[in-house]
């Protein structure tokens, strides 16, 4: 049977670290995301944003630390948590050979929805793709796939929505439409976490943000007004040291200046 949905109002990452063998992808990341707010995970490529999203989606387990969904710990409540989480990955998670409707109906069934047809039809409405419902997804433009992918992620009305670089490849109109949709979802009480390296498109949406670099939280912003300034600073710091980042020697070079 479908596990009952876990109910939670906030998401807390406590000291989360994740490494792959010798490579540390995330180091002691902590933050909180609440209902009715969009949290941004910002940072350059390779900062660990995708890894963090995979952890939040229960696909990966932290090497140390923990993630709490309300009171629920991810390691004990996998399936019921997954029923409350929607993910829009970079690759959109759509079967190109299937039609829009078939994709939606399949995932509706996978998430245990009773009325698959109805849910799919409603999702198509939201995506404004009802007229293309029976065309194969491979024939869709990036923007259309994006809209469909988002509706696929939302079809089971998740409490938590995770988005990985959702603005990639969108034109201005599509990006604006996506922004409006996310705003509506936020107002309806969904917890939204959005990872991106491009602040321009995300800035109007974010309520709060944390900045990641090399797997660490280097800054956090609570007020939307401060976003732009902090972003500029973090990104400029990044480019200044990006030449050194990643090699063992750089540790020494960096620490020599930083050591007290």
């Amino acid at each position: 049977m479908t596990p009952p949905e876990a109910e939670f109002d906030e998401l807390t990452a406590e000291d989360v670290s994740r490494h792959f063998g010798r490579r540390r992808a995330l180091s002691r990341v902590s933050f909180r995301a609440d209902r009715g707010a969009i949290l941004g995970l910002l940072g350059p490529n390779g900062a660990g944003k995708s890894t963090m999203l995979a952890l939040l989606g229960t696909l990966l387990r932290p090497s140390s630390g923990r993630i709490l969904y309300g009171k629920f710990d991810a390691s004990h409540h996998g399936a019921s948590l997954r029923a409350s989480i929607g993910v829009l990955g970079h690759d959109l998670f759509l079967y190109p050979e299937l039609t829009a409707r078939e994709n939606l109906e399949f995932f509706a069934g996978l998430y245990g929805l009773r009325d698959r047809r109805g849910a799919a039809a409603a999702a198509l409405e939201h995506a404004r793709l009802s007229d293309r419902a029976d065309d194969a997804v491979s024939s869709f433009s990036r923007g259309m796939r994006q809209r469909l992918g988002l509706e696929r992620a939302l079809i089971h009305r998740p409490r938590l929505l995770l988005l990985d670089e959702p603005f990639t490849g969108l034109d201005d109109a599509s990006a604006a439409a996506l922004g409006r949709r996310l705003g509506t979802l936020r107002d309806q009480g969904t917890i939204i976490i959005l990872a991106t390296h491009d602040l321009d498109l995300a800035e109007p949406l974010l309520n709060r943000a944390i900045f990641l670099r090399d797997g660490r939280v280097v800054d956090a912003v609570e007020r939307p007004e401060a976003l732009r300034a902090v972003y500029r600073e973090v990104m400029s710091r990044t480019t200044a040291v990006s030449g050194f980042a990643g090699s063992p020697r750089s540790g020494e070079a960096g620490s020599r200046t930083d050591e007290p």
Binding site: P3, G57, L59, S80, A83, L92, F93, E97, G109, Y111
Partner: protein, 225 residues
């Protein structure tokens, strides 16, 4: 609910495959090429080696099966949809079972074409006892596919997956091959020995039960990171 997920996954795989028929056509054609290569290699003076037909049939199934497994999961990997399947609250063993049934169906379809071909090229009376043959093929295919589906899913994220799949799969499925070939060869005798065939079928049935169960049991821990 479990059964519903299995059915959903199976139906989805079927629909996806039917749209392009890529894996079906290529696997079939590969199996046929395989058999032809064997024919050229082994047939001397117009006659096939004694009892070679059974072996050739099963080798073709094993090779074609490995190819089909690789392609099926490669497809899931490309659209990252395997991730989407794992993100859903659907029970993971149900996803495995859905995929397994899809692979078995595909292989059985290939076998339906292979059997007459082998009969023709090697003058082997494979179609004398179609019911027995069908049971042997089904039992063997399930065993091969059960292990193969698990390993192929396991290897999806691994770099050398194309070559590692046969390396891992063939040693484990040796009993299936032996049993399948021996049972088929016994069937080809002028007076098939029902006792022998029953023995090998029993072995295949046990193998199927044990390994499908093991796969269902280990699918979750093997797919989580």
């Amino acid at each position: 609910m479990f059964a519903r997920i299995v059915w959903l996954v199976l139906r989805k795989d079927f629909t996806v495959e039917v749209r392009s028929l890529e894996i079906a056509y290529t696997t079939l054609f590969f199996a046929i090429s395989c058999v032809l290569v064997f024919a050229f290699a082994l047939v001397q003076e117009g006659r096939a080696p004694e009892g070679g037909a059974a072996g050739i049939l099963w080798i073709a199934i094993a090779f074609a099966g490995t190819l089909a497994l690789g392609r099926t999961f490669e497809r899931e990997r490309q659209s990252e949809t395997l991730r989407a399947l794992l993100l859903a609250p659907a029970a993971r063993p149900a996803v495995y079972l859905g995929k397994l049934l899809g692979i078995v169906a595909l292989l059985l379809a290939a076998e339906i074409l292979l059997v007459p071909l082998v009969t023709l090229l090697f003058q082997a009376p494979l179609l004398e006892h179609p019911a027995w043959l069908a049971v042997i093929l089904v039992a063997g295919t399930i065993g091969f596919a059960a292990v193969g589906t698990l390993f192929a899913a396991m290897l999806v994220r691994v770099r050398s997956r194309d070559v590692l799949l046969p390396v891992l799969l063939y040693p484990i499925t040796v009993p299936v091959i032996i049993a399948g070939v021996r049972a088929t060869a016994a069937l080809l005798e002028p007076q098939p020995d029902a006792g022998i065939i029953r023995f090998w079928l029993a072995l295949l049935a046990c193998f199927d039960v044990v390994f499908v169960t093991l796969a269902l049991w280990t699918f979750e821990p093997l797919m989580t990171d």
